[in-house]
Symmetry: C2
Subunit: 98 residues, 2 copies
DNA sequence: AAAACGTATTACGATATTTTAATATTCTAA
DNA sequence: TTAGAATATTAAAATATCGTAATACGTTTT
């Protein structure tokens, strides 16, 4: 175990990440991406939310470093930046499965 | 794997939980409690935040079912309600350790 | 080069969250 | 039974987040 200020710093870092996950639509997007790269169109179809909103969510998560994007022709493909995050999301899905 | 609407419902449920964790001070409180029951005074000492604020955070998390409380004389002892949540928090601490 | 497609950005009102300060409550001990 | 310690509640201002609508941007196709 570590000292308090270290623990607090970690909490600040982790909380900043969790702010992104703490929204139903963003979490859903991340769950989709935890299964692999996906285009905005695909995410749009699955989520059912508006184009603008999805794009804003993705932009935000890219800005915060949770996801990365690459363009392929007309499409933009998103993926989760850090395998640790993928793992965490899948853990959460299993944990709150029932 | 399950159908989309099931996945979305789960995301809604989980996001509601994560909203509580997505705050540095609340996450810190939960990390403390993940190690075992603690009084408000103890949490207050460790966190260093104001009495009112800590109490509000705890009240909120109790309302949302993340923690439970019992009174012991003058003190109120808090604990995490669901072992699953304790486990998740410890997983997160390890995951974002470095 | 214009049209069409996929994605991103901007602006704004509505709503929610966070924090501080002041006060109230509950219990114990004198 | 009053004082004091521990905790909770309330109110209100400051700030942040959310969703919609309108528009812009980049790429491909015609």
């Amino acid at each position: 175990m570590q000292d308090l200020s270290t623990a607090k710093k970690r909490c600040a870092r982790v909380a900043a990440i969790l702010k992104n996950l703490a929204h139903p639509q963003r979490l859903f997007l991340l769950c989709c991406l935890a299964k692999g790269e996906a285009s905005v169109s695909e995410l749009l179809r699955q989520s059912g939310a508006s184009q603008s909103l999805i794009s804003q969510h993705l932009t935000r998560m890219r800005r915060e470093g949770l996801v990365q994007a690459r363009r392929e022709g007309n499409f933009v493909l998103y993926r989760i930046a850090d395998p640790k995050l993928s793992a965490l999301i899948q853990t959460m899905e299993k944990t709150f499965d029932e």
